[in-house]
């Protein structure tokens, strides 16, 4: 049988061989990574953003490239998912965006810091990651078979502001197929709507699932009630997950007009 000195030779030769192979592969990887990660796009802003990412141990709650902690969302594709405007608002005061939810530390980021972080995320999102993160094989956002979907709950009381700040995903997912998208009608979709609101709400089947779908929202509200809701969600419905978003007066007018047109 195997003798001790043979066993030692096995250990030494194996270790040496595979260490050398590993070093060789590392050299090749080091050569290829700049192209694969689009390293030419690493601007000073991206580098500063990475530094902020490290300095604040963001990885202690989030994952990035699937590495980190499991307390807060995966951020590899956050730029694509949320967009710069939303992230800028969010990073100013994370807890305001998701009131009553799991908390993120409120960092004192300067305007510059926020832009740097956004640049960093944009760069990360454009890397070639060999297919990660995986596309959901049954993406609920892409729509369920029509027969499985209950019709949208009818809204009867037009004057009562009753957006359901529910956290149950199924009910919102359900509303989208039933309601025909009315986007084309009347006022154009405000830029801010695309930047901020769709992060949580669906319209015409696209958007987030934190708040209710907004198809047909114009039937539930009038100008005053809708304006009041947008200006101070907590005041109308304490405990709601809807944040107070930073709209200018003009943006607010546009938003109200747009939403009321969603009948």
């Amino acid at each position: 049988m195997l003798s001790k000195s043979q066993a030692r030779t096995f250990f030494l030769v194996g270790t040496l061989l595979f260490s050398v192979l590993f070093l060789f592969l590392t050299i090749d990887t080091v050569r290829q990574v700049p192209a694969q990660t689009r390293a030419k796009n690493i601007t000073p802003a991206v580098a500063r953003g990475k530094h902020l990412w490290d300095q604040n141990n963001c990885m202690g709650c989030h994952t990035l490239l699937g590495e980190g902690a499991y307390y807060a969302p995966e951020l590899t594709k956050v730029y694509e998912r949320r967009g710069a405007a939303w992230m800028d608002v969010f990073l100013k005061d994370p807890q305001a965006m998701f009131p009553g939810q799991r908390k993120m530390v409120k960092y004192k980021f300067s305007d510059q810091d926020r832009q740097d972080l956004i640049a960093f995320f944009k760069w990360i999102g454009e890397m070639d990651l060999n297919g990660f993160p995986p596309r959901p094989s049954r993406d609920l956002n892409a729509g369920l078979p029509a027969q499985v979907t209950p019709p949208a709950p009818p809204s009867t009381r037009a004057d009562v502001p009753a957006p359901r700040p529910t956290t149950q995903p199924s009910s919102q997912a359900a509303t989208r197929v039933g309601a025909a998208p009315q986007v084309a009608a009347a006022p154009a979709m405000p830029v801010k709507f695309q930047q901020l609101c769709v992060a949580c709400h669906m319209l015409g089947g696209k958007g987030g699932r934190v708040g209710p779908a907004l198809d047909g929202v114009g039937k539930k509200y009038n100008v005053t009630s809708l304006r009041k809701w947008l200006e101070d969600p907590q005041g109308v419905k304490p405990g709601t997950a809807m944040p107070k978003l930073p709209f200018t007066a003009q943006e607010l007018d546009q938003m109200v007009a747009f939403l009321l047109a969603q009948k």
């Binding site: 250990f11 260490s19 590993f22 694969q36 499991y70 990360i124 990651l129 609920l140 699932r209 934190v210």
Partner: protein, 478 residues
Amino acid sequence: MKFKSQKVAYWFFAACMLLLTLQLTYGFIMAFAHMGLDGLHDYIPFNAARATHTNLLVVWLLTGFMGATHFIIPEEADRELHSVPLAYLQLVSLLVVGVVAIIGFHLNWWEGRKFLEIPRPLDYLVVVNVLLFIYNIGMTVWNGKRFTTTGIVLFMGLFSAALLYLPGMIYFTNHTFDSYFRWWVVHLWVEGVWELIMGAILAYLLIKLTGVDREVIEKWLYVIVGLTFLSGILGTGHHYYYIGTPRYWLWIGGLFSALEPLAFLGMALFAVAMYRRSGRQHPNKISLYWTVGCAIMAFVGAGFLGFAHTLPQVNMYTHGTLVTAMHGHLAFWGAYAMIVLAIITYSMPLMTGRKLWNNMPGLLAFWTSNIGMVGMTGAFAVAGIAQVYLERKLGLDFMVVQKEIEVHFFGLTLAATLFSVGITLFIYNFIKHGLPRDEMVGDQSLDAEWVEPHQAQTVSAAPAPEKSTPKTGKKAKA
């Protein structure tokens, strides 16, 4: 205990117990935060709790390895430790660095790279500290009367662990490089050089506890660490699937990391086989439990559960989810926590002269902590699989999924409570042993009595036996 300087091991082990307790406290903070009970958020945000939890883990394991080394090396080299004051200096400075780092975490002072959160200035202190340790042990081995395979493998493991800390200290602007070389520390530690340390301690314990011939055990030690490096070095590739590195890592990492369980399987088979071969029974049964248990749980946690998510097709979905946390817990527990607890249970009676082996708290500590840890693994597994399915397969929003799986963190807390009861009993036993005693120096009777069971002389220097001590322990003057 043959040499006086082996006593320093006690203080390393005592530090272990303290750090372990703190680690568990922070585990509970995180488990509660996952359930929505985040009242401490303003003082200990999740990332601070997490960095503390994992760094304390690493520090107490390293402290345990160092304690084990201080106990094992003098015996293997057959001489006193090179310098006892240096050993104490090294322990104290390690603890000081650790405490400063942990306070820093609570003040947002860190490096923010998973498992290597310790801020850069402190990294240099760690390096100096480890150099002190390596120097002290190296001198002991160098001037030793004999070189054993166990001693050399242990020393090589410690030395390469120190060396591998360095790539983690290079700064890269490209996040992918940062990650790439961070894994040289994290992966090549736990799936490489730490296995040398573990294998050596395991071999030492098996030699002592089973009485099987050293040559046989050390031959298998070489085979096992050979398998470790054969698979583990290129196995690093299982962290290079999706971080912006070339595609060939998918099959290289997949293939070689799939072989990694072999080393752990080897250890488990080896420990069980040696256990079976031992004709006579060492009186320190509990230590044998921890030793054989370690080899088995390491296989389950690292080998089996590691394999479960190491193929790139699976890892695509489980990468960075609670499935990873499931594996991380049982792997660290089985392979490294248990080996440290094994050497502690083995050496304490030898250092203190109190034969608290086979007592009820000790047995309960073993079973409760292991059952608790298996329960925790189960809770993480259910939460993780649900997360993968809902988030990665169905495409639900992260936070929506977190709400759905909150309940499993209640399960986690229950299992963690059971686990903590086990650890508390272990620490209770540790304290009951009392301090190491000079009378025990040169007294190898506790080990020897089963080797030469016929030699039964009474020793007056031994302390009054505990009430719970089994009557079997005959004392012999060496």
